[in-house]
Amino acid sequence: MNLNIKANKNNTFDAIVVGSGMSGGFAAKELTERGLKVLMIERGHEIKHIEDYDTAMKEPWDFEHRGKTTNLSAEERWANSRFWGLGSEEVVNHLTNDKENPYIEKRAFDWIRAYHTGGKSMHWGRQSYRWGKHDFEANAKEGIGIDWPIRYEDLEPWYTHVEKFVGISGQKEGLEVLPDGHFLPAMPLFAPEAHFKNKMMERFNRPVTVGRVANLTQPQDIHTSLGRASCQYRSKCQRGCPYGAYYSSLSGSIPAAMRTNRLSVLHDSIVAEIIYDEQKKRASGVRIINQNTMLTEEYFAKIIFLNAGSINTAALMLNSKSNRFQNGFGNESDQIGRNLMDHQLGSGATASIEGFEDDYVYGQRPNAMYIPRFRNWGNDKQTAYLRGFGYQGGASREGWESGINADGFGANFKQSLTKPGPWSIRIGGFGEILPNPNNRIYLDSEKKDKWGIPMIVTDAAFVENDWAMRKDIIASAVEMLETAGFKNVTPYDRPTHMGLGIHDMGTARMGRDPKTSVLNSFNQVHDCKNVFVTDGAAMTSASCVNPSITYMALTARAADFAVKALKKKDL
């Protein structure tokens, strides 16, 4: 898959895609399938689908530290290990070594990174929800940030297009707040969850549904033709799936692009700069630095898609200075790097559940239960904050771990831990964060990384709206679990920063006015139309649902537009 191209003419393609993650993979697929010769450039090392999932088939006892985070991992992955489980030896080597790739936290930001083929699509939780109409309209209605230049209807066909390819299991519910998509059969709710669902409807008129998740419950031809098979319910997805049963760029978009024979991939190549042609007034290509050899090379194309992840995309644009763009590429508006958003995470409640003693489950569900937004929705009006949150969580039977805090030891104790323990439940909120120009990343004016590229500074934090919402996330979680009749309801509130939601976005937002936004309604840089940004950087607001299928839908829509424009010689 790796190309080593020397001659200039061989360094020329129809399109360059920067980044091989969730959005870059999709860009490569859409562009190659429409006939373009594409070069995808990835800063990290190559990971081969299946072959390189080195921990996927390991048994629990094969892990020396049985899945715990070692001091060494915590030191090397000082940012990544802030997220639950990402420091574990089951996955840690597939996450970026933060010590070797440091960033500066002016204000602390939990930046979770995976620099390798597939990016974070290899590790994602696969929760996939369409945005609703209200998500595209809220900024304009409330006078927050700027208005989106598109509406739900613009994206709707592209959601369907993405969902069919990705394969999303879910239950149609007919809710305006959480539009239905094109679904594979839903996974079941467990008995106490079904009880919870009924109680919530009965008591609050609040719907609860099973998570919509990118795991193949019933693969279609579009999936099996890429070698993807049905989910085996081991729920060890984050290690990489040997069956290709969950969607990632590795299992889906990259193989689809490869089979067109029009995709070339460069690994270990950090895109450091976009090259701007002052005469032609367009971007002509990119300059890369090989992360191992430090050698610099240039690649050229008619169009460039930036999909390095919202923070890296913004950093790359800020680092690309020319006569025309002295303040960073396409940064006339000074909005690049600003309006950094995420979803707040880490608060909710837990409870123990009495009863359901003979209900049990065979297999592990790689999914959860979902409670769609109910705040500032319909007749509900909150005075303390704008927007809302959804909950993810679920019930499970406790295992031997319950013995750690319980009294007892010895033969009977040992025997008791071999039986399924009592049920317990946890729900945690994902809250919408508003665009705020003071929440941002920028480049340090002096400090450089080991490749001589200016270091990224994070400077963002929750504001009043977030804290007020957080209080309600906790209070409402407690209220709902108590109403369901569960016991020992306990709120939790983990000290956290922005970033922990791993939904960083907004750093090169779409908008109608080049004075206040970076991209137009087809994700083109206002001032340089042959450059497209279709990762999270493009987002004008954040909604409260997981964003990846929205990035993919925006990407597919922009790719379709770009190829049509190229054919009409508009680009």
Binding site: N71, Q232, Y360, G399, W400, D407, T418
Partner: protein, 180 residues
């Protein structure tokens, strides 16, 4: 030593050992340490290792299935403390072992040992310090080491490597938990 006396002694020592690091414990700590690859030093003396093994086996004794010692839990505990825990937990662990040494834990009979652990369990509940106390550490590591070891896991649970399906089921009488 009579059981009553043992327990009185343990209570006294636990009170001292857990409220603040005693000088003795600190000495012990410094003598018993050497640097490891994480730059954090931790190791146990032979006596301490024997105490750890005894306690682990009392938590998960050999029955008709293997016990903690059979599956290598004692060495696992020491390795885990070294690789995954930091100085405050190391200190807390060493202090706990120190009080066990003081009550001559290894010389007690099984009943007396169980009595000491019961007391330890109760006393641990009174500790408010943020550092994980000795009893919690040794219990958590014993259970982790045992239930995730090949022999311990297979003897305790119904091990399913690849479920292949997801099904809501009714539990049969005496059914073991699944492990994956």
């Amino acid at each position: 030593m009579k059981r009553r006396e043992v327990i009185k002694n343990v209570a006294l020592m636990l009170g001292g050992a857990f409220s603040a690091p005693t000088l003795k414990a600190m000495d012990n700590w410094e003598n018993a340490t050497k640097p490891n690859r994480n730059g954090i030093a931790f190791s146990l003396t032979e006596t301490q290792q024997r105490i750890v093994a005894e306690i682990a086996e009392l938590i998960i004794p050999k029955t008709n299935t293997p016990g903690a010692k059979d599956v290598g839990v004692p060495a696992f505990i020491e390795m885990m403390l070294k690789d995954c825990y930091k100085t405050p937990e190391h200190q807390s662990f060493i202090e706990g072992l120190d009080s066990m040494e003081k009550v001559k834990f290894l010389e007690l009979n099984t009943d007396e040992k169980r009595g000491v652990l019961k007391l330890l369990e109760q006393e641990t509940k009174k500790i408010t310090s943020k550092t994980t106390p000795f009893w919690r550490l040794i219990k958590e590591l014993t259970l982790l080491g045992y239930f995730t070891s090949e022999e311990g896991l297979k003897a305790s649970f119904d091990y399913v490597q690849i479920p292949g399906k997801l099904e809501l089921i009714k539990l049969k009488p005496n059914q073991k938990a699944y492990a994956y």
